[in-house]
């Protein structure tokens, strides 16, 4: 769906992107993470065909951003981190303008406007002026404007910035519903936990370079590369909580043929073959061995885990490369 290959972008003062390459598959919700100055916004603007890269190729839905920028503009929705609205227009007028300027025909515009307003929960505010909306509602209107023409790709740059917890929760629900409709999304944020709810993959940038293995799934595995078949998940994690301290826990788990991921206070994180059957077998083995199990819950791998993993790999790589010349 989105293919970025050897992307280089220069500002007069410095190089913002150093040969960035990755692929985002159709239907994915990619979290684009990295510290300030990592190049996230620049990367998004290049994907949106708003800035011309110094080198490299970006294709969106098969359209090259430099060969057919207007085709890309029409095919995507993009919400920059700093956006504006026409405060003197009503919500309905904003959406009509957005729809018709993005090629929606006059005949289908009313339906597109109502659909977009319903998606973001603004159906009852259509005649309110944009300038009279609260920050959360403005954010919803801005998103509605980006999806009123039913794009297949949506780019959201720091969409939750400045929103209160309720508005963030609404935003998460909206992004989940868009993903459920099959839309491909790239969402950037500084706050990993807010991406947790809806992102299926993650790409970490630092100093204009991709960190680690490129696009990784939120379970830490490498995502599908160009022309690769999807790989089966290798393991699942479960947290086992014990009612009382267990002596020699590691040895007892090993005796049960259960592989330990790590120990936490009063609990153990185990690696299992994915699936309910393996979980049931593990639980009965633990109970049969007389271990005081008080809790047993599968763990959904978090984005923070993936981030830590990628960061740790980068640190390891840096250490290796630093030591290389000395050795």
């Amino acid at each position: 769906m989105i293919d970025v290959e050897a992307l280089v972008f220069d500002y007069p003062s410095s190089r913002a992107l150093h040969g960035v390459s990755f692929v985002v598959r159709a239907g994915a919700v990619l979290a684009l993470v990295g510290p300030n100055g990592a190049g996230k916004s620049t990367l998004m603007r290049c994907i949106a065909a708003l800035d011309t890269p110094t080198d490299g190729v970006v294709t969106v839905q098969g359209l090259d951003t430099q060969v057919d920028p207007r085709g890309v503009h029409a095919a995507i929705g993009y919400l920059p981190d700093a956006y504006g609205l026409y405060d003197a227009l009503s919500v309905r007028q904003c959406l009509i303008y957005a729809a018709q300027s993005r090629g929606v025909s006059a005949a289908t515009t009313p339906a597109a406007v109502l659909s977009a307003a319903a998606k973001v929960g603004l159906s009852d505010r259509l005649d309110s002026l944009a300038g009279h909306l609260s920050r959360g509602l403005r954010q919803r209107l801005a998103i509605a404007q980006t999806l009123v023409h039913s794009p297949r790709v949506l780019l959201l740059d720091e969409p939750a910035s400045g929103l209160d917890p309720d508005a963030r929760s609404s935003l998460s629900a909206l992004i989940r519903s868009l993903a459920a409709d099959g839309m491909t999304l790239i969402v950037s944020s500084h706050i990993l936990s807010e991406l947790e709810d809806y992102c299926t993959e993650m790409l970490m940038l630092r100093e204009g370079q991709v960190v680690g293995d490129g696009v990784v799934r939120t379970d830490g595995r490498k995502a599908v590369e160009r022309d690769e078949a999807p790989e089966a998940p290798p393991f699942a994690l479960v947290r086992v909580v014990f009612a009382a301290p267990v002596e020699d826990l590691q040895a007892r788990l090993a005796a049960l043929d259960l592989s330990l991921e790590r120990l936490e206070e009063g609990a153990a994180i185990l690696r299992l073959t994915p699936g309910a059957e393996a979980e049931a077998q593990a639980l009965s083995a633990l109970v049969a061995a007389g271990l005081p199990v008080s809790g047993f819950s599968p763990i959904k791998p978090s984005l923070e885990d993936a981030y830590r993993s990628a960061n740790a790999k980068m640190t390891e790589d840096q250490t290796t490369s630093d030591q290389g010349p000395q050795a």
């Binding site: 500002y11 510290p35 300030n36 207007r70 503009h73 504006g84 007028q93 300027s101 990993l192």
Partner: protein
Amino acid sequence: MNPELRRHLWLDAQPRRLIIGWAGLAGLFLVVWLIDRGRDPHAFVFAGGLAFVIGALIWSPREARAAVTDEVHARTWDFQRLSALSAWSMTWGKLVGSAARPWAFAAPGLLIAALQLASISSVSHALFWVLTALGLGVFMQASGLAVGLIEIRKSRAVGKPPGLRSAGLWIVTLCLLVLGAAVWVHTHAVWTIHIQTGTLTASGQPLIWWGGRYEPVRFAAVSLIAAAVLGVGWAWRLMRLELQLRNFPWAWALFVALAALYVAGFDPPADSDASVLEHRLTFAGAALSALAYLGALIEPADRVRARQFIDAVLSVRPDRIVWTAPLIAEPTALAILVLVWDAGVRAGDMGRPSALMTLAGLAFLLRDLGVIAALRFGPRGRSDATVIISLILLYVVGAAAGSLFAGAHGQALFIPSLDPPGLSGLAGLVEAALVWTYALWRIGRPAKAPLRPPSFQAPTEKTAPASGEAAVAHSEPIDLARPTGADPL
């Protein structure tokens, strides 16, 4: 309806705003009637003309400029750039939409003035002036939009928002006033008769252009209408660039060549010492030089693109050279050709000093372009006003200082001069070489400070993970906005 036009009409053409404009127009005519009391039949022509000047020539270009610069300030410009509208739809939607209110004020004024003029002279005469006024209005409106687009491109290149005031519009207005004054001077007697009798019978000197004899006012009017068409085309090409479309690079070269041919077409006065060829070459050289200065000032100071051009030249890649060539390339190359040719002709006809003076002018053109590049591509990206003032100071203060310390020889180092012959040209070339070397070094060198302002909070030791260090597990969410030591862009 064009969505961009409709959006403008929603925002600007509200009944209350239009009624206020029409009330102002009625007030203007009322004041003129109270002063004149129907004594002069031209009073309403004057009042209508004044309304047209205010609405179409002063107000409307500013609205056209604001149609893009205000979008940048309101952070809606990227949203518009992402639309599916063609560059042409966006251009005319903005031109017509932004003109709605000013022209609602100007058009009735123009209509009343035309009707009054027709009643006291002739319909054809009134139609001529209406057509001329419309050409002038469209030219100014298109110039306003073009100036706005140039400003946002230039401001983006240096990471700053466009200014609230526009020097570009003042310069366009000034150029038009100079052109109008030139026409008036050329046809002063005829012009007076026109106002008094309302006829276009030419009785003064005709204008000779490429051998043809033309009535000056008609010639200026036709030129103006052609300029209006070119102005709209100019705005459209700039809009294409904003929408990330690539412009055919030869169009600018074609315009430069046509402009040189247009200016070269004016025949020399009967008492001129220069031959027709010398006169044409000098005029063409002056026009090309003016376009080179214009190109140097209006092009964004984009060092990345400039580096790409330099790389293309060094690696001898003609396709890349053509696509990345700066605006000054074509007019400067043509100016060199034309002025060297002019110097050769002058050396044969008028002697060596005249040829050396022409070459000195060329050398100082090259130096000035280098000065503009060095200042605009410098670490702080000097403003146009600073660049122009610096050039003026270089000529005035440099010549004065040179004269003070070394007399005429010293003065010749800073302005084209024939005392002694050849020194000016040589000095200009040396200065051009030095200043261009400095400018190229500036272009290739990274800026001292990031041109995009760093954002977010200052570093805090407590929460700042070192760059490359894995974030440790903690109960609060990981906030990547915390500093990492990475350079902000």
